[in-house]
Amino acid sequence: MNFEFSAEQNLLREQASGFLADNCPPSAVRAILEGDAPYDAGLWRQIAELGWTATTIPEKHGGIGLSYLELCVIAEELGRAIAPVPFSSSVYLGTEALLLAGTEAQQEAWLPKLATGEAIGTFALGEKPGQASPRSLETTCSAGKLTGAKVPVADGDVADFAIVVARSDAGDGASLHLVPLNGAGVSRSPVQMLDPSRSHAKLSFDGAAAEPLGADGAGWGLTRQLLNRAAVLFAWEQVGGANAALEQAKEYAMGRYAFGRPIAGHQAIKHKLANIYVKNTLARSNCYYGAWALSTEAAELPLAAATARVSAIDAYYFASKENIQTHGGMGFTWEFDCQFHYRRAKLLSVNIGSEGVWQDRLIAAIEQNEAA
């Protein structure tokens, strides 16, 4: 049994953790949350220099060709630091979509720039409140011209290209399109978000130049494959955040006195934090399962991804809200940092399908395994 990260991967974790402690302290998160900058550009440059954006990109496309296990390690540390950078959009979604379905030419055009962090990619699915499906989409593409609007798109204001899901009359009812965002026919406007440390935009397309990514009518299947991969990586971010929230709650409880002793000595607080630990541990172990499935291209990936995602959503939401509760009134102030986790946890809960959507997919994966 070797169900654990290697010594090298653990070393990478230590390096990443140390780097982010120095370069992405809560003050850096706050600067983006309170300021006008869409993301921390300095941090993004450093992250790219460390090669994190190049992790799973093959060497022939300018990457370093490591496994998904390394990317999971990085994701956890970015989640812990609540990093205000477009990493998830560009790496888990933009880069992964090209790796999944891009032609050799598309990969050669974008992957080297994604690897260096020079280009930022994103993924644009939702158009209106509620769960997206091929039938719900109004964005269409005809003769290489894309028309429609997507909102909210994570990092849509700063990305160089988006992978856009459009309705199709063929196949599964959807197609993916690679759309450069700096050309004619694309307009973008920022969208205010619950978590302002991660910028989002509305993208409007009026005959924007688009090239197909994957076959026409294969877009919904590809979206599911892409989100299965991304779900594991987002889950690691969520677990990182959940553990950071637990540590924050504990640190405060150890130093805050009430009724003559640290509140950490009162059972109501002890049990609350122990329950956070329990959820975090379950989520973390499920994330191991997801990491294993992702890195070995296992047939179990749909089930493993949904399992990791479902328990990570639960863990981070619970940790983030009970962290505020542990802090009492101070946790509810703008001045305290508890809000960062509360905001980020909710953003990560809804950004690639909510808990209910992934619960449904979990059971569907079990049903499919039985039918196979």
Binding site: A264, G265, H271, V278, T281, S285, V310, S311, Q359, D360
Partner: protein, 404 residues
């Protein structure tokens, strides 16, 4: 990252499998034997061939195997169809480690191999009516009389006392000092005059536990483990092994059983499994079971590398017990009016859901209540302070007590 055995582990697994395949008793071997006799037959067969309690040192009946080899053997035995040996769990899992740590050499060589072979069954006499979660508040007394001690009082919640040969027990030997300091640890022959075992009828209708009464029971000072007044420290050895021995309390109801039920019963004229709320609930429980399974794999990986597993496995009993209770309750909801039926003629799934529902409250209490488990996690894993103890340093006979 993989789930594979190392080459040495794979070789051991092969060896274990081959031995089990050749030696697990056939139905013919077991015909006419009750569960206890089946367990004893199988345990003796394992012992004679060196496959019992393999982690223990050779001189005490084991073979000095690694923890990982024990895990592999347990896995393979679980798949082999061998008789259930749960009767030996407390003796082998709790009494034996305590004896090995605290008994003298002659005692270890006499008693421990008999535990390994299944010849003797032991129980644990710790809890009392006034000492449960606050175990050190126990009152059953031992008073020195020459080379013997005279025991009077009552123990409770003792699993298997009615079929046990020996027991480990903690007694109050000095009520004039603070709670933890007046305790001494012994082992006792359950056939000693003055011991009376009375079964407790549980809400499930079963009787897995007993009350054990002591009236002037005499035990030799040679059966004392540790020094007089050192009983709490010895008890910690036992308790450290308890949660590992007790496990998840699955009760036979898990994701698979409720999922299969949801495919069979209707909700809104469709199979219940098509209902989003049902799917959501089931997915939550699946994720919990999966989380526990992979937490176990992480611990096994540490064992496999020769390391001590972290504290993460200590969540198992806490998560498992409530999950069983909630899943049984949910399954009964899916059955609607039939959910409360236990009549063998009409009951669904041979009554596993109703059975688990009625047994589940015990799972949340035995071996450390949910609340004690949370305290342990908070204190030992997260490093949070202990609770305020108003009886700290107070002589035991001056500590306020309730009426119970």
């Amino acid at each position: 990252m993989d789930f594979n055995d190392s080459p040495t582990e794979a070789a051991f697994r092969e060896e274990a499998r081959a031995w089990l395949a050749a030696n697990v008793p056939s139905e013919a071997d077991l015909t006419g034997l009750d569960p206890m006799a089946r367990a004893k037959l199988w345990q003796k067969r394992k012992f004679d061939a060196g496959w019992a309690c393999i982690r223990w040192p050779k001189e005490y009946g084991g073979r000095g195997a690694t923890p990982m080899e024990q895990v592999i053997l347990t896995q393979e035995e679980g798949k082999s169809g061998a008789p259930d040996t749960g009767f030996f769990m407390i003796g082998q899992g709790m009494a034996a480690p305590t004896m090995m740590a605290w008994a003298n050499e002659d005692q270890k060589r006499h008693y421990v191999p008999r535990l390994a072979s299944g010849e003797d069954i032991w129980c644990q006499l710790f809890s009392e009516p006034a000492g449960g979660s606050d175990l050190a508040a126990l009152r059953t007394s031992a008073v020195k009389d020459g080379d013997e001690w005279v025991i009077n009082g009552q123990k409770i919640w003792t699993s298997g006392a009615h079929y046990s040969d020996y027991a480990i027990l903690v007694l109050r030997t000095d009520p004039n000092v603070a709670k933890h300091k007046g305790l001494t640890y012994f082992f006792v022959d359950m056939k000693s005059p003055g011991i009376e075992v009375k079964p407790i009828k549980q809400i499930s209708g079963d009787s897995n536990f007993n009350e054990v009464y002591f009236t002037d029971v005499r035990v030799s000072d040679a059966q004392r483990l540790g020094a007089v007044g050192q009983g709490w420290q010895v008890a910690i050895t036992t308790l450290m092994n308890e949660r590992a021995a007790i496990g998840g309390g699955g009760g036979g109801v898990g994701f698979r059983q409720v999922y299969e039920l949801a495919k069979r019963v209707d909700l809104d004229d469709r199979p219940a499994i098509e209902d989003k709320r049902v799917r959501g609930q089931l997915a939550t429980w699946y994720a919990q079971e999966s989380g526990l399974r992979y937490t176990g794999y992480r611990s096994m990986s540490a064992l496999s590398r020769g390391q001590t597993p972290g504290p993460e496995n200590s969540i198992g009993k806490y998560v498992g017990a409530s999950k069983t209770q909630d899943m049984a309750s949910f399954a009964m909801d899916l059955l609607e009016g039939s959910g409360a039926v236990v009549d063998p003629e009409f009951v669904e799934s041979a009554g596993i859901f109703q059975g688990a529902f009625m047994a589940a409250p015990g799972g949340r209490i035995a071996g450390g209540t949910d609340e004690i488990m949370l305290n342990i996690l908070a204190e030992r894993v997260l490093g949070m302070p202990q609770d305020v103890r108003v009886d700290k340093g107070v002589p035991f006979n001056q500590v306020p007590t309730g009426t119970g």
